[in-house]
């Protein structure tokens, strides 16, 4: 199973080729250029560097949300275009699960936090549980959008050490240290943000369970309505 993986849900643009247990290529940048300018040139460079025959790819994995609305759509449109052109399926990897999977085997619980502004985060809480194949990742709290204080409460509630990662860390680290009642850790640079290698590796596991999506049916999970929809619903409630 050979996977071409993409994650453009945050500030990082990252693409990877993962084949079964091998990471063939990963290209990740954290720079100010827009994903529209970076993602495809990166993919072309990866393709050329590893002499990739695109037709040998079995599926396109994409971080499916949450994240920046525009970033998610650039990733989704890219994945959909690639999948349509190659006649291959898409594997939707929830952004938070892709991030958490980087910490495979962690004894601490894993809590990705993505800054969603105004003290909100996109977050989830994951645990690596030993089984006959090594570890499997289980969600103690499925991905959601919530206030950072609620997120810290959830992290505290299992009375186990928690490893935080994501672009919410620099924003909320002090607050987390202040309110944590369990030991907390913060992932180092190479595990801090999104990684297409991790998305691809988790997609290999999803593929074993046939979690494929037709290219035309894929759309991001935003976790939030658009502002216009929210305002319209609030107005309707008041009326």
């Amino acid at each position: 199973m050979k996977i071409l993986a993409i994650d453009s849900s945050g500030l990082v643009a990252t693409v990877a080729i993962v084949e079964d247990h091998n990471l063939i290529a990963e290209y990740t940048i954290h720079h100010k250029k827009t994903h529209s300018q970076t993602l495809m040139p990166m993919l072309e460079e990866v393709k050329n560097m590893v002499e990739l025959d695109l037709n040998s790819v079995d599926a396109i994995a994409v971080a499916s949300g949450p994240g920046s609305f525009t970033g998610l759509r650039i990733g989704a449109a890219t994945a959909k275009g690639l999948a349509m052109g190659l006649g291959k399926p898409i594997i939707e990897v929830p952004t938070l699960e892709g991030m958490a999977y980087q910490m495979y085997g962690s004894q601490a619980l894993v809590c990705p936090i993505m800054d969603a502004r105004r003290n909100q985060v996109y977050t989830g809480l994951y645990q690596f549980v030993e089984d006959e194949n090594g570890y499997r990742m289980e969600a103690l709290k499925e991905g959601c959008a919530c206030d950072i204080m609620e997120c810290i409460e959830i992290a505290n509630s299992f009375e186990m050490p928690v490893m935080f990662l994501g672009d919410g860390v620099p924003v909320f680290e002090a607050l987390i240290r202040e309110h944590a009642t369990v030991p907390v850790y913060f992932a180092p640079a190479h595990r801090r943000l999104q990684s297409a290698a991790s998305v691809g590796a988790l997609a290999i596991e999803f593929a074993k369970k046939e979690r494929f999506t037709e290219a035309k049916d894929h759309a991001p999970e935003y976790f939030r309505m658009s502002q216009a929809e929210r305002e319209r619903m609030e107005a309707a409630k008041k009326a």
């Binding site: 529209s36 300018q37 495809m40 040139p41 993919l43 525009t70 759509r73 449109a77 275009g81 216009a228």
Partner: protein
């Protein structure tokens, strides 16, 4: 390169609230023209909501492309190049089409050609008028644009007049809202005006400073709003068809006068209109009459090619393609892309 091979362009357009794809043969024959309109959704909000438009584009983009290929009875093997609108427009909306087009071109090894949306609108005239070739004068009027353009050659343009404030279609939307007709304003005002007297109310025809070809519609819009306020203060009932017809006449008069003046001044015997407002029946009739009087051949696309569509992008893309225009994988959406720039 052989000269007798047919050229097939797959075109994608997502600059505003229509998700569209088309297949065009040799720049003039439309083999398919699929448009998924979101208008009902945006009507709830009284105008296009960019985030909602972008969300709909990503849901529909593959179906629309697949349908265009199926209806044209072609496969990717037949396609010579992929053309896509990369500006101007809503950035989030443009990005869906641009990203999908790039990935599809990359996956299939096809050349990528970015197209200017307005160049597409002008090129819509080539579809049904096989004899039409540059140079000619063109008036582009839509919800976002009001341009008087000299089409020097395929892909070569000079804008001689532009709006100083509101676009013509924008003025239609705003006035339609003010007189309670709702969104989208253009077709609604067009319909209601048929019942009204265009001479009933004398609204101003804006003159704009130094450039005689420039437009201004915000003064006219204010005049309509003032008229409505005045009537309300005096407790008079407003005759909506009369207001609509008189407003429409004021817009039409200015558009016709500038376009005809430009055509005469630049010595063109051909005038083509384009863009959503080019569907307006009053504008078409007035422009036809003025052209007949001036001995100018008048061209206009069918309504389906006036609205945002991908067939027009395929036509413009074809002429860019045969001139050798290609874009790289770093092609970005450019929301304020200028005509004639790349």
């Amino acid at each position: 390169m052989t000269t007798n091979k047919d050229i097939y362009i797959l075109a994608i357009e997502s600059s505003c609230d229509e998700t569209a794809a088309a297949v065009v043969k040799n720049g003039r024959t439309v083999l398919s023209n699929i448009i998924s309109s979101q208008i009902d959704l945006h009507t709830l909000y009284g105008g296009v909501v960019p985030e909602i438009a972008s969300r709909k584009h990503i849901e529909k983009i593959n179906q629309v492309i697949e349908e265009a290929m199926k209806e044209a009875e072609v496969t990717m093997d037949d396609i010579d190049a992929i053309a896509v609108t990369y500006g101007p427009g809503l950035v989030g909306a443009l990005l869906v089409g641009v990203s999908a087009a790039k990935a599809l071109a990359f996956a299939t090894g096809k050349p990528l050609v970015g197209v200017h949306h307005i160049e597409g609108h002008i090129s819509a005239n080539y579809i049904e008028n096989l004899e039409l070739e540059p140079p000619f004068m063109s008036l582009v009027v839509s919800g976002g644009h009001s341009h008087l353009v000299v089409v020097k050659d395929y892909g070569e343009y000079e804008i001689i007049g532009r709006t100083r404030d509101d676009a013509a279609g924008e003025a239609f939307d705003k006035v339609a809202r003010a007189i309670g007709l709702g969104y989208p304003g253009g077709p609604k005002i067009d319909r209601v005006s048929k019942e009204g007297n265009p001479e009933a109310i004398k609204f101003p025809r804006a003159k704009v400073g130094e450039n005689i070809y420039d437009f201004s519609f915000s003064g006219l819009k204010s005049a309509v709003l003032n008229y409505l306020n005045g009537a309300q203060m005096k407790g008079e009932e407003v005759n909506v068809p009369d207001v609509a017809a008189s407003f429409q006449k004021a817009v039409t008069d200015v558009l016709v006068e500038h376009a005809i003046h430009g055509a005469k001044e630049y010595n063109f015997k051909k005038l083509a209109i384009a863009g959503g407002v080019a569907s307006n029946s009053s504008l078409r009739a007035a422009m036809q009459a003025a052209c007949d009087k001036a001995g100018i051949a008048f061209y206009h696309p069918s309504p389906i090619y006036c609205t945002d569509n991908a067939a027009m992008i395929g036509v413009a893309g074809y002429y860019e393609y045969i001139k050798g225009a290609r874009h790289g994988w770093d092609l970005n959406a450019v929301p304020n892309l200028k005509l004639g720039e790349r």
